[in-house]
């Protein structure tokens, strides 16, 4: 029958105990650390027993050494497990050891040795008797840690040390009485009781400094109300290695990921210093608040003495309301949040949080006493390197090692160790050869140098074993990136990849959580697909450091307990969420004209293709349908093809659509490119896709075909020459006449050699008795009736296909060959498979046209003026400067696209050519500005003035009121007339028409050309308005101010250099510095919001601008057809920060500006 004591009796028993005298602590406690030395002075014990594993006993003199600067850490490594004991000035254990060492009193580490290998038992069997919950509720504490703060830390100020001891012991007793203890705790207590019993024989006055939880069990073996379960006591194989190392405040903070830390160490250090000096803790709160304000001001946000004073008042008020003598850490944090963050999670909230972190974590670095024996990481690594037969200290470096980590066990261990060393920052081995992650083998050049020694010493701060040092270094790197706002999705994916390569499953699981969290929230489609690929590689066991097979896990020492592999569920969850996020990101693809996006779309669809029941497939089909209907030309094509791949649309339906696009004019080429990029090689296997198109092409008359030829050729150009050859063969099966057999464009001699080599190979394989695959059976011939040629046409169908695919020009009739030659001038040999064959059957046999003029004339003669301009324009787009110069400034049709193309050339032109170009651009710009201004100016004018009104406002128009009511005036007997006011007239709020400032912040990174043209023209139009000052800031990763040139769009456009990355946050910071009157400023950001810089900083900057009163507008990039194209996740974050994002045409933008400044 367990004995149940009343709290008061239990406390009396604990505090009254003298054999041993008990001091129950929490391992980090400023109150206990301050109370312990005076109590020890009073007691003057003969020996002090400290709750540390017996293994660390040899280190205790070095821990208590007078020259040690805390924080330091004791570590004990046994097998795969590491026990870690960080010791700070506010650790009671450190105070006890110091006290003992200084006075020459023996001090013993009397806890169970680390190697005893006690099973931890079930984490929590839930058998709480409700005591703890009741205590939590009655003290208003959310968790046990806060309860300790309430009961022990907060009342410690000015209290007698004995009272602190009593409070701590009572807390421990309550925690222990709440429920049964775990087997490991019971075994430890048994051991400690035995050690106490042994000490009784040698010493008279014994003091024990233990966790307050254990106190009761040390004086009374029956204090535990539960029958004892034997712990599994199989000692761990291998020696226990202990070490003592310096430590840092950042590591001590429990958020750093290091074990046995505490939140906000600097707070505890300050509180300890105040308590030990007998000063009020109240002063600490004041100090901390003043410093937080200083850090906030350093980040250029207002926070002054009034804020600090209010926060302190609030903290004290809360303390008083909660019955505390002085505010504790919790009260200070609450006060800061209320009085300083202004309810902002972003923007100011981030600044305040960072200031708090800097003040409360601190930057203390510990130091060991001189002469402390060497321990920790360096000896560990030396042993490891020797075991792996890698060069150690003083050894001559070997040849570069080629490791095959997926096949050889030794190589896998070496591979992981080299990765871990690199991650820990130890300079030891360079990776030579290619860095491709997909490669099966990797070459390394390991070498033990002086740099290795030096970097090892630095890395040893992070832990006594290599995995721990690598873990610490990787965590520190993530923290540093986060502090500099550089932890973007790409960096996170790279980080997880590195953790996986290092075989650190804990980190990988954390990283996977990040992939599910921040990455999903911020990344664009491309990054999401990259993250998906990484997850799939890990899941398939292709990352040597992170195998899926538990037997292949890399261990540090022989016999060590293997690490767990990464839980399959974590991978599956991450994959599901990445998939869902990728589907979500499709919305932003609508206006993209980049074929890379089509490829990403296709890759994503493939993931779903084989598994129709995957989560999110419905959403994908829904998104694809929208993209197929409303997307830009390539996206429409790509989405249509993806729908066929998903099986939501039959191939025949897409085929009919493909055929109908022949009449779609400008978008034909783009849509074809989309379909072909997505389906590419599969097209040959789907005759139903191509046949409708083939029928239409045969049916067109010559003129109509030639008008569409450049677009068709442009569309099919995305296929490689070899693919086009095969396609030609496949199509010709269905046309009149002999099918066109795909010929090999290879020298016959070479062909013979190749065939001989093949046969030799076959013979060799057969000689070894291996099976040789039989040739695949010939594909069944489709018995369709061939598509007839229209006899009225000169151009036969097969020749038309030769022309539009740009293959087999030699087989064309001479007259038709001219068309092919004129187009080949533009498209050349093509890209990809088959493009570099000698003597190809494609274009390029004849000499090129001598000049662009000749070419242009030929084009004009063959196809007509419209096609001539189109083809030359395309040539200009492909970088042919001469083609642009051949365009006639006077007759050219002004369009934004043409302007873009021409502008893209300006970098590579001579001054004379530039002059011609300038005339062309000038004309186009003038025409466009005129056209736009005619539409836009009315939207901007028509400002209103104050008007009289009968609606009640706060301004009475006295003059008009008197006038309106004069007829009701009555003379009064006592003199002045009385006016009975029947009608009141008020003034409406006048709208001021003084100057506004419009800042156009324009992204000039790649693929933003059309938007720059629009922005430049808007700037010119706006700057022509009275009372509007226009700033034009162009940015990629740098910002330039082009405000001087806003009235001259030509100069502006010639000044802007397209290209580079995107750092919107930096541009906004620059803009913020230039704003003088925030409430009268409009800040318009034109971008695709594919932020390359840190997203957190971008959002914070946007928030800061909005808070200051600037009217923000994000203009999502539009392509020429005014379809938006932008990063969905980042835009949503910005909208949440108060910056509306819209895709507006120039006219709509003008209306918005008009509404704002009216």
């Amino acid at each position: 029958m367990p004995r149940v004591l009343a709290p008061a009796d239990a406390l009396a028993a604990l505090t009254g105990a003298t054999d041993p005298w008990l001091f129950g602590v929490r391992h980090h406690s400023s109150a206990c650390a301050a109370a312990l030395p005076p109590l020890l002075d009073r007691l003057a014990p003969d020996v002090i027993l400290v709750e540390l594993p017996a293994d660390v006993q040899p280190w205790l003199p070095w821990v208590g050494h007078a020259e040690v600067v805390p924080p330091i850490a004791l570590a004990a490594v046994a097998g795969g497990s590491v026990a870690f004991y960080p010791l700070a000035a506010f650790s009671p254990e450190l105070q006890a050891i110091r006290w003992a060492v200084a006075r020459g009193v023996p001090v013993e580490a009397f806890d169970l040795p680390i190697g005893a290998g006690i099973d931890d038992g079930p984490e929590d069997d839930g058998a709480s008797n409700g005591l703890l919950d009741a205590l939590l509720v009655s003290n208003g504490a959310p968790d046990a840690e806060s309860l300790w703060d309430r009961l022990v830390e907060a009342p410690a100020a000015g209290a007698d040390p004995e009272a602190v001891r009593g409070a701590a012991l009572l807390y421990g007793w309550a925690l222990r009485a709440d429920g049964p203890a775990r087997p490991r705790d019971l075994a430890r207590e048994r051991h400690m009781r035995a050690r106490i019993a042994a000490a009784r024989g040698r010493y008279a006055r014994i003091a024990a400094v233990i966790g307050s939880y254990h106190a009761a069990a040390l004086i009374d073996a029956d204090a535990d109300p539960r029958p004892r379960l034997p712990g599994a006591t199989a000692p761990v194989a291998g020696a226990v290695v202990t070490s003592l190392q310096p430590y840092t405040a950042e590591q001590l903070d429990s958020r750093s990921g290091y074990p046995a830390g505490i939140r906000d160490p600097a707070w505890h250090a300050r509180a300890h210093a105040a308590l030990a000096a007998g000063e009020p803790v109240d002063g600490v709160a004041g100090e901390v608040l003043v410093e937080v304000c200083r850090h906030i001001r350093a980040a250029r946000h207002p926070a002054g003495t009034p804020d600090a004073a209010e926060a302190l008042r609030l903290a004290r008020g809360l303390a008083a309301l909660r019955g505390l003598a002085s505010p504790g850490r919790r009260e200070v944090l609450e006060a800061v949040e209320s009085a300083m963050t202004h309810g902002e999670v972003l923007g100011r909230g981030r600044v305040v949080a960072r200031a708090l972190e800097r003040v409360l974590v601190g930057a203390d670095r510990g130091r060991l006493a001189p002469g402390t024996p060497r321990s920790g990481l360096a000896p560990h690594v030396e042993a490891l390197v020797e075991a792996l037969r890698l060069p150690g200290p003083g050894e001559v470096p070997t040849e570069p090692l080629r490791l095959d980590p997926l096949r050889s066990e030794l190589d896998r261990r070496r591979h992981v160790t080299l990765h871990r060393l690199a991650a820990a920052g130890v300079i030891y081995a360079d990776r030579t050869g290619n860095e491709d992650d997909e490669a099966l083998t990797a070459a390394w050049a390991p070498r033990w140098t002086a740099a290795t020694e030096a970097t090892l010493a630095a890395a040893s701060l992070r832990g006594p074993t290599l995995p721990q040092a690598a873990t610490g270094a990787l965590r520190a790197r993530a923290a540093e990136l986060a502090a500099n706002d550089q932890l973007d999705p790409a960096a996170r994916v790279a980080w997880v990849a590195e953790a996986a390569a290092c075989g650190l499953p804990d980190l990988v699981v954390d990283g996977l959580a990040d992939l599910r969290g921040p990455v999903v929230a911020e990344a664009g489609l491309v990054e999401l697909v990259a993250a998906l690929e990484l997850v799939e590689r890990i899941a398939h066991g292709h990352v040597p450091g992170s195998p899926v097979d538990p037997d292949r896990v890399v261990r540090d020492e022989p016999g060590a307990v293997p690490n767990a592999t990464i839980a399959g569920q974590a991978l599956a969850d991450a994959r599901d969420e990445l998939l869902a996020a990728a589907v979500r990101a499709l919305d932003g693809l609508q206006g993209s004209t980049d074929l890379a996006d089509v490829r990403a779309l296709t890759a994503l669809t493939r993931v779903f293709e084989g598994a129709p029941e995957r989560l999110g497939d419905g959403r994908l089909a829904w998104a694809l349908e929208r993209l197929a209907d409303e997307g830009s030309a390539p996206i429409q094509g790509g989405a249509g093809a993806c729908r066929v791949m998903l099986g939501v649309e039959p191939a025949a339906a897409l085929g009919e659509r493909l055929a109908s696009w022949l009449d779609a004019g400008d978008v034909l080429a783009g849509r074809l490119q989309g379909v072909l990029t997505a389906m590419g090689p599969q097209l040959e296997g789907h005759p139903e896709l191509l046949l409708p198109l083939a029928r239409r092409i045969s049916a067109l008359d010559d003129q109509a075909f030639l008008a569409r030829l450049p677009a068709l050729r442009d569309g099919f150009d995305v296929l490689s020459p070899a693919a086009r050859d095969r396609l030609l063969g496949a199509v010709s099966e269905h046309l009149d006449g002999e099918p066109i057999r795909a010929e090999l464009d290879v020298d016959p001699a070479a062909l013979a050699a190749l065939a001989a080599a093949d046969r030799a190979g076959e013979a060799a394989v057969l000689a070894l008795g291996l099976p040789w695959p039989a040739p695949p059976p010939p594909a069944p011939v489709v018995p369709d009736a061939p598509i007839p040629d229209d006899p009225a046409n000169t151009l036969r169908a097969r020749d038309r296909w030769r022309l539009l695919l740009g293959r087999r020009r030699r087989d064309l009739p001479p007259q038709t060959g001219r068309y092919a030659r004129a187009l080949d001038e533009l498209y050349g040999r093509g890209r990809g498979e088959g493009s570099n064959r000698a003597g190809g059957a494609g274009g390029g046999d004849e000499p090129p046209f001598p000049t662009v003029r000749d070419w242009g004339e030929e084009l004009g003669a063959l196809f007509g003026g419209h096609v001539r301009q189109e083809v030359l324009g395309r040539a200009a787009e492909r970088g042919d400067a001469n083609a642009a110069l051949a365009l006639d400034p006077d007759s050219v049709r002004p369009s934004v696209e043409l302007l873009e193309q021409v502008l893209s050339l300006k970098g590579g032109l001579s001054e004379a050519q530039l002059d011609t170009l300038r005339r062309l651009v000038d004309r186009v710009v003038a025409a466009l500005v005129h056209e736009l201004a005619v539409r836009i100016r009315p939207a901007l004018t028509g400002l209103t003035l104050p008007r009289p009104s009968r609606r009640r406002t706060d301004r009475l128009d006295l003059r008009r009121t008197v006038l309106a009511n004069l007829r009701h005036a009555r003379p009064r007997a006592d003199g002045p007339a009385e006016l009975v006011t029947e009608r009141l007239v008020f003034r409406t709020r006048g709208r001021r028409a003084v100057d506004w400032r419009v800042m156009l912040v324009v992204d000039t990174s790649g693929s933003m050309d059309a938007n720059i043209v629009h922005a430049a023209m808007m700037a010119a139009i706006l700057s022509g308005l009275p009372a509007v000052h226009v700033d034009f800031l162009a940015f990629n990763t740098a910002v330039i101010d082009l405000s001087e040139r806003v009235d001259d769009p030509l100069a502006l456009l010639l000044e802007v250099q397209i290209g580079g990355g995107t750092d919107i946050g930096r541009a906004l910071r620059f803009a913020r510095g230039r704003i003088t009157s925030p409430t009268r400023t409009l800040c318009i950001v034109v971008s695709d919001f594919e932020e390359g810089g840190p997203v957190g900083r971008l959002v914070a900057e946007a928030r800061a601008l909005v808070e200051s009163g600037v009217k923000m507008l994000g203009l999502a990039a539009l392509n020429e057809q005014a379809q938006p194209c932008y990063n969905v996740a980042i835009s949503e974050a910005l909208v949440a920060a108060g910056m509306p994002i819209a895709a507006l045409t120039p006219l709509e933008l003008a209306r918005w500006v008009g509404e704002q400044i009216r």
Binding site: R313, G317, S338, G343, D576, A580, R584, G616, E1107
Partner: protein, 365 residues
């Protein structure tokens, strides 16, 4: 007197207030009707304990520390600004606080875009003004001015809906604690009596709001009122309020606990963008407040009682779509994604969710 729909808390809880005033005789801040401790108890309840003979009911379901901070703020120099998403009981909290601290919650300015400066300062009885010139009799005090003169709490609802110029009228009142009426000449200065302070509420993230100026922000302590953290408490609250709502028309709430729970779970998932199991969920642009959940539960209850024919749970997807899809057509896609993700996964284990999954077509069309 006819029964009012929502009596102010000082009337509804008059007995509790009286009991608390008698129970805690501790030090009160100048001008306060109760001690800070008693105010916190009034708002958060006495956990079943009888104080002065009366058990204080729990009125605000939320963090006690938040209420403590509010109370301490109001005893100081700054105003209290309660911010949070719509439907998080900010206004109720402000009413409770002012009823407990100064005995009235009636000195209220309800902020709209049409709120003028006179609602914060003072207006005139124009007939009297024109007839007799500026005089204290012709002055019409605003609720804020009245609160200053009486030493009570003024409440400003939805402060961010007022235009920024109008909001800024509060800046000098809060910092100088006085209000000048230049028309009245020398004597035209109103000074705040002890006990005066301002409680404002705001949705910082709602549409159609004006930003607050930095000067005004510095005169307030901000408290973010979060949505209810625990599922069980939210389900209980939704049940309680929906029952009260259908009780007004005199019928019981015919929605069982499981359906109610599914409803609240769906609301919470879509609100925080993460499901109860930790899966990512796409957040719609609409606000998924507890108040809306009560509305849906009430509607489902009323429809199944008065119209009938359909089991209550079958109505859930339709109502959910109605809440989610307000003005952004993309929100329908987001709800679909929720069905494709979280609902589909739950359907593997739970019959009710399986049934809901089969109703996916309701959302699709």
């Amino acid at each position: 007197m006819t029964a009012v729909q929502a009596p102010p808390p000082e009337e509804r809880y008059a007995d509790e207030l009286a009991a608390l005033a008698a129970w805690d005789g501790g030090l009160r801040p100048p001008g306060w009707a109760l001690t800070p401790r008693a105010v916190v108890t009034f708002v958060c309840g006495s956990r079943g304990e009888a104080l002065g003979g009366v058990v204080i009911s729990e009125k605000f379901v939320g963090d006690r520390a938040l209420v403590e901070r509010c109370v301490v703020t109001l005893a100081g120099e700054r105003g209290l600004l309660l911010v949070g998403e719509p439907g998080t009981a900010k206004s109720m909290l402000s009413e409770l606080l002012s009823a407990a601290i100064c005995g009235t919650s009636r000195l209220t300015v309800q902020g709209t875009a049409g709120t003028a400066e006179e609602h914060f300062r003072y207006g005139w009885n124009y007939a009297l003004l024109l007839a007799k010139g500026p005089s204290p009799e012709a002055l019409v005090p605003s609720p804020v001015l009245a609160a200053m003169q009486q030493g009570k709490l003024a409440r400003v609802e939805e402060i961010t809906r007022c235009l920024p110029e109008v909001q800024d009228a509060l800046v000098s009142i809060l910092s100088d604690r006085r209000l000048a009426v230049p028309e009245l000449g020398e004597g035209g200065m109103a000074f705040a009596a002890q006990g005066f302070n301002v409680i404002a509420t705001a949705n910082l993230r709602d549409r159609g709001v004006s930003e607050m100026s930095a000067a005004l922000k510095r005169r307030f302590n901000f408290e973010v009122v979060p949505p209810i953290a625990e599922l069980d408490r939210e389900v209980a609250l939704v049940r309680r309020q929906a029952e009260a709502a259908v009780a007004r028309v005199g019928v019981p709430l015919g929605v069982d606990q499981q359906v109610l729970q599914a409803l609240v779970v769906a609301f919470r998932d879509l609100r925080v963008g993460r499901s109860a199991e930790g899966w990512a969920v796409e957040k719609p642009s609409t606000v998924m407040s507890t108040a809306e959940a009560v509305g849906v539960a009430t509607s489902i209850g009323l429809q199944s009682t008065f119209i009938g024919g359909v089991e209550p749970w079958r109505l859930l997807p339709g109502y959910l779509l109605g809440v989610v899809q307000k003005d952004d057509p993309k929100d329908r896609g987001r709800l679909l994604a929720y069905w494709d993700g979280a609902v589909k996964r739950r359907a593997e284990k739970d019959a009710l969710w399986k049934g809901l999954l089969e109703l996916r077509a309701v959302i699709e069309e």
